[in-house]
Subunit: 781 residues, 2 copies
């Protein structure tokens, strides 16, 4: 029943997740977790034939649009999965007749979605149907589908309509206008459209090949058009036990694609022509060759990105699932973009970028594909303009990053959310105005990247400007409290979104302090060691060196509300005075508390949605003693509902740090199941992207114990949970690709680079030198 | 299988049409023909639970909007039919499990839609479900639904979500913005929105009552919100053989409603408040009382509008079906609106008004509800501004009506249609520019109304201005041919849309001639008999009497291309020289010819889509001899595919005129079946409104032989088909309501008015005087 984790055999062991029953009520979950993508294009795992429960979706990174009166969102593209089938006059529909066999598999190793069905029609005709699809990982504008149909107890007609359906919307919102349908050379269908407000032209084209028992055949293709949809209708007589096969080639281009928009805004014709050109080219290459290229690209990627866990099969598969989706959702091809909170797998959070990227996802890339990490951070540089606008709009200096941003970086957080059960009116969403920690989180991401790569070029050319401009923002944001001679940040919201409009959130204040200190330190280094760069940036942003002095003064006086005697960190002022309530009945049911309490009530309770102080214990872990961690954990952990997917993995890491790998493992197991577990209602709106980054961090930075020290060096101090015998993975440190094999009592660290820079690693308190192509073998108790 | 016509028994005999099987592929047909409406609101017969094949739609007359780059259309309103059910944990879904009993009935007499189902779930639970709904005919802003659920072999939970779903679109186009969800007093749900371009505010509100075995109960109502949707979720435990019932009250208001917008544009709050106020009021009245009022209103209406046919039951039911839908689709409450080509039953033709109203539908109202006919014609007066704009835009004088118009009267015909099978590009639609006969058709409608009612007030206050302004248009449009000293109309399109850009279409030229002659005649009458009215209009439109003289000259010289020797009418110049092809394989399949021929090819053939010359033989029937009719019939009828629903009924009438009531009956039978027959793919996009008007005319003006003579009098000359023993109906002539009973050999004509004006009627060549409350009994052979 439901999801099966043990379908993969042989070389596919722990590489396949499967759906074993057809339960249309769970469509949302499957569409999300079985979504395919290549960073450019993502497509939900809707079925070819379509069911009313589905939310069909295809999203192209960066193709944002704003419907009048709403916030900018990633638009739902014309649906090319659409493929309706009639078998000897009966419509193929799994809700009718009998399902004799059903298995849908997500092959994570090869990036494939397969569905095998044996179906008996209401009239008793038995047919085997096999569906295969992939979104090309090697050619980002292409996707391929294959439908195979074998009548088992009859000969008869197979009739199909294979279309591109532009009637799809973002939950009822249509972003595309000027819909144009074309039939080219009688066999290529195309929809060309333009976004309403952002003026992006798009083209989706498709064409087909047909086979009987692998022999290519001709099928008379009749074009069918309707409003915003075009399709090919065909019919073919198929003998008993013969297999009819259709291969559908899909090509997608938009006017914002880097390979099209280099010089100027490309014309409608240019976008359409390019889509058709690519379509012809992939059709010439052929399905088999394209599939081979695609698999090879995935397999090469896995060589770098895989984590091998000797332990429960589920853990192995689930960690791969996380990595798979991180890779699918990341627009590595375009440094004007970053990762959406739901990737390219659904419409939740409207394709917006949050702190999730820098804090949860960038670390994976920093250690695995540093070039992609750099691209992701470049998004923040390229969208500095939006952050400057936000700062100015709010009366501040410099650059204030938006809590939710699209391509331009301006604030995209909606102002209103769900209806409050008591007032009957929509709840005001404050995070856009108040979750200001995002600005420090961006700098945190940059700093991590810098520490792990030593990429001074990036830092001088881009990182520095971000750091200076965002420090300027905080400089203007900090509020001086004369009475205590300290700087405060009031009326704010920390990571915990069950408290809003609070004063001096410890996480935020601490992050600002760290940010300012790092900015000062790095600025001074640049001024001394790369004077020309310093002069360039200073000139560009009219920076006065006196600003640095100001920041030094302020950074030292930022109020961090910690009880000196106990080390207890106040999440914010007054939290401990709020009402304590019994949370047990809300545990494990995300948002359950909202069904019984008004939003206003919740604001007055000691209830925490997600890691906040605990998050700080991770991010600035070296600054806190074990004892201090325990005091805070014991206070905050019982008050936390983990109603955000950003919570469990962080708790896991901090639990490892506190020497409790078993508690950590319990949190980690929960986190692995946020999308991949057996809750079939949890993921309909898209993947919880950050949780997948969190899962990776829990393994590598948590159990694997790989961390950046305060001085910028690397420390390795693993603590495997009992159920794991070993873990093994690659990581990159300052350009050196290393493989680490962590066993219960031994670490084997190999350098795979022959020309990297040797580096020092602190392992269980001792320092080791890692040479090129060297191997370290360290036993520990 | 399929549609059943014989379900109605007793007083419902020939009043009920039924669907006896659930075949979701045919949803479109049923949604259309079982649509409910009251002229203000129309709702397609989508199911409560929803299927992927459905096209759910609710339309409010006059709520038009224009999506960027597209033409104005009637918008699809938030869906309030939505009602999802789970029975003991299993989702009610007729595609799954077993259907033990299924019957859906459209009760035409009472204006009700009922669905009775016995369903066995996949787990074997048997349940009886009964659904009832009506769109109130007595209170146009209200609609009611009732869902009854009886577990038959178990006790268990009934869970439901009853919502208002604003995610619906017009085939992918979203016209509503600023979507706002509200929960009022915990039990009323509301969606408030605004159209994008036309700035109409709308509000849809709903609330519920619950019962077990007719005893009112309380159900805990949980609000559920999503993007653009709000619903009430409830759950109730129901014993075996107990009946759970939910009554859903729906209230709809918009800012363009006459009762709201009298003074100024009403505010968002005003629209919402009014919807809620009405909702509270109908809930207080209660379901049973509302249903009673609704039925009574329908029954009173039927007393005036019914046609009783002694003949095949199907004919009786089908004629009622036509009348029922005409009444449902007509916005009688608002003289700024007219009837859409698909009524309020679907999105075909986008809610636009065509010549269908004046030529096909107005006659029904002229004879049955003259006040409503007047309202419909007032639409043309109220939209004269749009017609003036169209004339000016095209370089003409006066007022040129638009081929397709919405509220304002400006041209709304889309420029592009389906993709041409040969060129691969969209086909240019010329009717907006070239189907200029619409302007004469409007005057034809006005003249008919005037002849039948003697409403001089309407004519002087409104009709005259329309007639003068449209005559001015033709005056500037007519092209003088010096060689022949005649006026021509070139580059035009007649009713037959398989010929475009032709010269001197006989129908058009004749209609223009008639129009000018009638205008001159009536103008002279007004000038003499109502000099103040004449002066008023003349001043308003700066009319010079010399214009009348000009028109006289031109009307006399309009080229009507008729062979003097034979009486043969050339549909247009050169038609007879085009290629003749074998049409047999395209007969009976609307549009089949388009699948084998390019549009350009069709233009070069002697193939006719619909009555054109034949239409003229009807409209100006008295001007042509029987012999002339036969010559033209014999030539044109074999070349006509009847690919328009406007064709068959007209052929039926002309066949009666030619003395062939059996051929007429065959055409009539075809026409009755356009929507109501057993073709399940013919009506998905909405009713063929004009065909229903045509059906009524075929009975009353065709078989019943009631016609307006050239001199304005009434002639009655029935010819019943063999299968009919008699027909009986009411008609109104100059304010006199009469009942006529036409038997094979006898006419009984009764005046039902005690204070009307006596009138003369020509019956089979003799003249009779019809006195108040009089009875004429005339035998004929």
């Amino acid at each position: 029943m439901g999801i099966a984790y043990n379908i993969g055999k042989g070389k596919y062991k722990n590489w396949i997740a499967a759906e074993t029953d057809f339960i249309p009520e769970h469509s949302g979950k499957w569409e999300t977790i079985f979504s395919l993508g290549n960073g450019y294009m993502g497509v939900r795992a809707a079925t070819e034939e379509g069911y009313v429960e589905e939310h069909r979706g295809c999203y192209i990174a960066g193709v944002f649009d704003k419907f009048p009166g709403e916030v900018t969102e990633l638009i739902n593209f014309p649906d090319w999965i659409n493929f309706e089938i009639s078998l000897a006059g009966e419509r193929f529909d799994l809700k009718r007749g009998k399902i004799l066999y059903y298995l849908r598999q997500l092959n994570i190793k090869d990036g494939l979605l397969l569905r095998d069905v044996e179906w008996e029609s209401p009239m008793g005709k038995k047919t085997r149907l096999s569906f295969k699809r992939f979104v090309s990982f090697s050619g980002i504008h292409s996707a391929l589908q294959r439908v195979s149909i074998t009548p088992l107890n009859y000969s008869g007609t197979v009739e199909f309509i294979s279309g591109i359906n532009g009637q799809v919307t973002n939950s009822g919102v249509q972003h595309l206008k000027e819909s144009k349908l074309r039939l080219i050379s009688g066999r290529i269908i195309l929809i060309g459209e333009k976004t309403q407000e952002s003026n992006i032209r798009i083209a989706v084209a498709a064409t087909h090949e047909f086979f009987i028992n692998d022999r290519k055949i001709k099928v008379k293709e009749k074009v069918q058009t309707g409003r915003r949809r075009i399709g090919i209708k065909g019919v073919c007589t198929v003998g008993r036990n013969e297999t009819f096969r259709c291969e559908k080639f899909i090509s997608v281009y938009t006017s914002r694609d880097k390979d099209l928009s280099k010089d100027r805004k490309p014309s409608e014709a240019a976008v359409e022509d390019r889509a058709v050109e690519n379509l012809k080219s992939i059709k010439d290459t052929g399905y088999a060759a394209l599939l081979k290229e695609h698999k090879e690209k995935w397999n090469r990627t896995w060589e770098k990105a895989d984590i091998v866990i000797e332990g429960p099969d589920f853990d192995q598969l689930a960690v791969r699932f996380s990595i798979f989706h991180i890779l699918q959702m990341t627009p590595a091809h375009d440094n004007r973009l970053s990762i959406a909170a739901k990737g390219l797998s659904g419409e939740g959070y409207k394709g917006h970028v949050f702190w999730d990227t820098e804090v949860f996802l960038v670390p994976f890339f920093v250690y695995t594909f540093p070039d992609i990490a750099r691209n992701l951070l470049m998004y923040r540089y390229n969208s500095l303009g939006g952050a400057r606008i936000k700062a100015a709009d709010n009366g501040f200096k410099g650059a204030m990053y938006s809590w939710e941003s699209a391509e331009k970086g301006t604030e995209e957080t909606p102002e209103w959310g769900a209806v409050d059960i008591e007032t009957g009116e929509s709840i005001r969403i404050w995070s856009g105005e108040l979750e200001q920690h995002i600005t420090s989180d961006v700098v945190y991401g940059i700093w991590n990247y810098f520490q792990a790569t030593g990429d001074y070029d990036f830092m001088c050319d881009y990182g520095l400007e971000i750091m200076l401009e965002t420090a300027r923002f905080w400089d203007s944001r900090l509020e001086y409290n004369r009475e205590y001679d300290r700087y405060e940040i009031n009326n704010i919201m920390g990571p915990d979104e069950y408290s809003e409009r609070v004063d001096n959130n410890a996480f935020t204040n601490y992050m600002v302090k760290l940010q300012l200190e790092r900015t000062i330190k790095f600025s001074e280094w640049v001024r001394e060691n790369a004077a020309d760069k310093w002069a360039g940036v200073s000139l560009k942003i009219r920076f006065k060196d006196s600003e640095l002095e100001d920041w030094k003064e302020k950074a030292g006086k930022i109020f961090i509300n910690i009880d000196k005697s106990t080390g207890f960190i106040h999440q914010y002022e007054g939290f401990t005075k709020k009402k304590v309530i019994d949370l047990s009945k809300y545990r494990g049911k995300v948002g359950a508390i909202l069904e019984e309490h008004s939003w206003e009530d919740i604001m007055e309770m000691q209830v925490i949605k997600q890691a906040d102080v605990i998050m700080l214990l991770y991010i600035a872990g070296d600054d806190f003693t074990g004892k201090q961690k325990k005091i805070n954990w014991d206070f905050y952990e019982p008050k936390t509902l983990h109603d955000s997917s950003l919570s469990s993995a962080v708790h896991a890491i901090v639990a490892v740090d506190m020497g409790d790998p078993e508690k950590a493992y319990r949190y980690f197991s929960e986190s692995l199941r946020i999308d991949f577990g057996e809750n079939y209602n949890s993921s309909s709106e898209g993947l919880h992207s950050a949780s997948h980054g969190g899962n990776w961090q829990a393994v590598v930075n948590g159990f694997g114990g790989i961390r950046i020290k305060t001085d910028g060096g690397i420390r390795i101090e693993p603590h495997l949970p009992e159920k794991w015998k070993s873990i093994q993975f690659n990581f990159t440190w300052h350009g050196n690709v290393c493989n680490i094999h962590i066993k219960k009592d031994e670490i084997i660290l190999k350098s795979l680079s022959s020309a990297g820079k040797p580096f020092k690693a602190e392992i269980f308190g001792s320092e080791y030198m890692m040479e090129n192509s060297g191997v370290l073998q360290i036993r520990y108790e």
